[in-house]
Structures are given as C-alpha cells and as structure tokens.
Symmetry: C2
Subunit: 314 residues, 2 copies
C-alpha cells in the first residue's frame, strides 16, 4: 500500500527510552461504535471483530453491558457474544457498569470485563448517578464477584486530564481514584482523556504521580481522544514514560469527520504508523487494518477520520 | 469559546527542556491555499491576511512568485501585494523560486523572501527540473541579489524525512543540502516533511545531525504535514530538541478533509493548543484564529480539517 512499499516510515527509535513492544487495546467495536450515529448490524460487527483479529490485534473490546437505553448502538451485546467465534490468543473484554451488567456478562460466558469510573464529581454524577467515593461501593461487589469467578477486570478512569464542567482536574484526585480501582483488583488502569483536552506535559505529570504513589507503570494504560488533535503527541509522551498499553480505535471510529465537535478516539492506524516509525513492536498488519477500516467506513456511509487510512486508501 | 472558558488546557510544562517562546511561521495563505482546489478571490485573501495578523500571528507567508502555470491558486501575487496593508511588527515573506521570481518580488516591494530546495534528486528533478547540486547554482544568484538588496531570505528544504519515489532519505544528504542553503545566506532553514511520513525518532535524529554539524538549533525551523497524523507528535519532538520556529497553517488549510489523500499542513490551532498546554508563549489569540479559520472554511465551502477548529466552533 502506497508509501510503505518503499520502506516508509523509516524505523528510527526515539531517544529517552521506549517500550520494546506495545499492546494495543482496540476499542473500536465498543467505544468507537457506541459514539457513531449509525446503528450497525450485528453481522457487520462480527465481521469487523474477525477482521480486526485477522489484522493481528489481540485485545478487542467487543461490546458493553451498559443499559441499551443509554447506548442503543450496543443493545445487541448478547447476540454479538453468542455469534462471536473467539480466536486463540485474542481477548474480547466487555464493558460492565454494575452487578446487573455482570450478570449479563456471566450469562454470556465473558472472560474479561472492564469497569468504568470517573475521576471527577460532576461526571460521576452525570454518568453513574453517584459520587467519586460512592462509585466504589458499586464497583466493589462487581469486581469482587468477577474476580471470584476467575474473570480478568480492567479499570477505566475517565476525565483524568480535564472535565467539561469542572475544568482542570487535580492530579491527587486522579491518583486516589485510580489507586482504588487497582486496589479493588483491576489488573490494569486505563487513564482516559475523555474530552481530549490533555497535552503532553499533563500526561507526564500524571504518570509520574502514579509511579511516585507506588503504582507500576506496567499497570497503566492510556486512552486518548483526538478532540483537540493531541492524541498522538500525548501517546508519544506516555511511551517515553514507559507506558506499554495504548487504547485506540480502528479507523478513528467514534469521531465522525462531519460532526461539529469531533471526539474520536486515537486512530489505531495512526498509532501503528508511529510505532512502526519508532521501531516498537505491535503485531498489527497495517495494510490489513486499513482495508478493514475502509470496509467499515463504507458500512457507516462516511470516510474514516484516520489520517493514515485516508492516505493509504487513496 | 467552549472548554477554554474553564481553564483548559491546563498549563503543565513538559519535562526535558522546551523553548520559552515559539515563533509560528504561518503558511496558510501560501502553502495552504496553493494546495486547495478552490481559487480564492484576492479580496478574500487580503481579509484573511488581515485577520491572521489581528489574531496575533507575526509571520504570514503571503503568496508565491512561482509561475502561475504551476500554481494558478496564487496567480494574483502582484495584485495581492499591491492591496496588502502591512502592519507594524508583522512580516509577509513571499516564496521566490528563481531570479525571475526575485524580479517580481523586487517590483512588488517585498522585504522577505523564501527559496525552496529539495533534499532528494527525484524531487529536485520533478519540482525544479534540476539536481540536488544543480539547484544551488540557481539559488546562489537569487539569494545573493536578495541579500545585496537588504532582503531577508529563508530556505525551505523539502523531502527531509522521506521521498515518495526514493523512500528513506539519508540524514547526511539532508544536512549537506541544508547547510548549503544556510551558507548561501539564508537566515533560517525550514526542514520539510513534505509528504508527512516522518515520525518522532527521525525528527530527533535529523535535528541532532544538524547540531553535530555545527548548525545552531536557532537556525532551524520545522515544517510538518499531517498526512499520516504525525505532525503534532513530530512538533513535540522538535520542541524538546530546542526548535523554536514552527510552520503551520491556519485551520489546517491545504488538506481537504474530503480528499482521498489528505496532505495538509499542521493546523495552527492544534499547535496553539499544544503550546498553551505546555505553557510556551506564542502570542496568538486562539478564539480569534478559530473564527478566522471558520470564516475561511465557509469561503472554501467545506469544514476545516483542524481538530481544534472543529471542537471550538461546534
């Protein structure tokens, strides 16, 4: 495909230390599709998941057990999981908001779940109808029961870098909430810039604060949105701090290029281009992934917002 | 405008050294508009330049004296410069390809010019009908005469990080060509990733090679295109190496979001968001700039590809 045939991007490691390998946590089927206007047919979703696995992605956040009233795009979670042909070596985590969601996950035979917390009071109120402290009494039984059943649990923490109602978020507040999710048994904590306002210095500061608080960098993942165009620069800053799990969305799903306010996830293809250039392993076949995103964009009836997809699909 | 009213982005300097202040070299009116399909009326261009100055930008690359056969979008260069009301403290450099272009620049009373060289043989042949060595015999009299008349001359070097025909470009080749432009009297050298393929490690390596070859970092500017989504991450890498002049294009002009292969410049707004977050001074009023880019996008009949413009104009 295009430029890559003549050895581009050239592989040149960046100074200052980088992980040898990065695990890409692909959130397109969940975080991407839940933020698209179109409701995608379950058959298309299943083919999407299969093509992402075929492209070499090994963690595919498949769907969500949030109530369909809130996320109609993923109301087909049970049907999706019923039809899913799981591949060896691929994990298919599912978002679970509470014990009711966990029951659905048990019933569907899910092995990996993720819970979703807030670093700020306003978002805890709006998204969870709770408080920053109160949310943990909801997570505690959910995570406890999941762990008791042998599930692996990831913790998401949203609004880690800025909140649309509260503005800047105190680092101590983020570290405190994040540590509680880890203490409850989450194997990994994904730090979300939910509204995409963060810049590189903030990313460094927050990661440093977590490590100073005794949290290993291997426990931390980053989850950036490209609302203000900062997602990849923030990722670079996180890689330099040793982060080796990065969330991204195939084709930048979730950020419609025609929307007045784009809030898409970092595009997996743009991340892969960076990692290729830095010589960091990731296991993904970029050509195969781009073809998948082009195919999905056709299903959604609009072009992919990913720059790499636009460039290589031309 | 939106999120900024509550103190976002939060100002947090990035570790590893950053310039206190960055000079933004605004290329929208030239590099941006010459790559747009639409041919913009000279009156609109003049208002655009005036609004950019009003927003606080102090270097506005106004137009080009490349032959109109090659760049019909800028065929009105003389009329534009005739109508231009120059502001105190603002520079309006003009691209000049050769002595014939320089004559036009003299006639128009231009005080700042830029010449445009290639780091690779294929692009030197295709863009200048010359060779990497041969181009300097064209630049030598152009730059010499310009300097003798008291003009300030900038040197652009294109294809510094990858060439669509040749693939990776040897660092020594780029340093050699760049040094020749500086030796001929250019006050500054802008290193261009013309096809947008570079990643952060390459940027660091090239900047290090220039400083090892005795070129002061204050002589170097960076010029990134966002074809593969890397422009801002590359800029961050350059800032950490001490670069303090960055080229960008208001609203990301030059990269149509509907084009199959987007090749736009780094958007000035996305750069400003990063600099604001890092606490690096730049002198630009972001709200005013966004309003200007929205206004220009309306003139072009399509939305701005800049993420910040999309987010703040929503």
């Amino acid at each position: 495909m295009g430029v890559r045939d003549i050895g581009l991007p050239e592989r040149v490691p960046s100074g200052g230390g980088l992980p040898r390998r990065v695990s890409i946590w692909e959130v397109g089927p969940r975080d991407g599709l839940q933020n698209e206007k179109a409701i995608v047919d379950v058959g298309v979703k299943l083919e999407f998941l299969d093509r992402l696995a075929e492209a070499g992605l090994t963690t595919l956040e498949a769907t969500s057990f949030v109530h369909p009233k809130w996320v109609p795009q993923l109301a087909d979670a049970e049907r999706l999981l019923e039809g899913l042909v799981r591949r060896d070596g691929v994990r298919y985590p599912v978002l679970v908001p509470n014990e009711r969601g966990l029951e659905r996950a048990f019933a569907a035979g899910v092995g990996d779940i993720a819970v979703f917390g807030s670093a700020t009071e306003t978002f805890a109120k709006r998204n969870l109808n709770s408080t920053v402290d109160g949310q943990f009494s909801m997570f505690e039984p959910t995570i406890g029961r999941a762990l008791a059943e042998g599930l692996r649990v990831r913790g998401y923490l949203s609004m880690c870098f800025g909140d649309p109602w509260e503005g800047p978020v105190a680092v101590e507040q983020v570290v405190r909430a994040g540590k509680r999710l880890l203490d409850l048994g989450c194997f990994q904590l994904s730090l979300g810039d939910t509204i995409g306002v963060a810049t590189a210095g903030q990313v460094e500061r927050l990661l440093n604060a977590f490590t100073e608080a005794g949290v290993g960098i291997d426990k931390l993942a980053v989850h950036f949105h490209d609302t203000y165009g900062q997602a990849l620069a923030n990722t670079l800053a996180a890689l330099h701090r040793g982060v080796s799990t990065v969330d991204s969305s195939a084709g930048g799903l979730g950020g419609c290029p025609y929307a007045e306010s784009a809030t898409g996830n970092l595009a997996t293809e743009d991340l892969v281009w960076l990692l290729d250039g830095l010589g960091v392993e990731h296991g993904v076949d970029l050509g195969s992934l781009v073809r998948t995103s082009v195919w999905m964009a056709e299903r959604l009836g609009r072009p992919s917002p990913s720059n790499v997809v636009k460039a290589l699909a031309g």
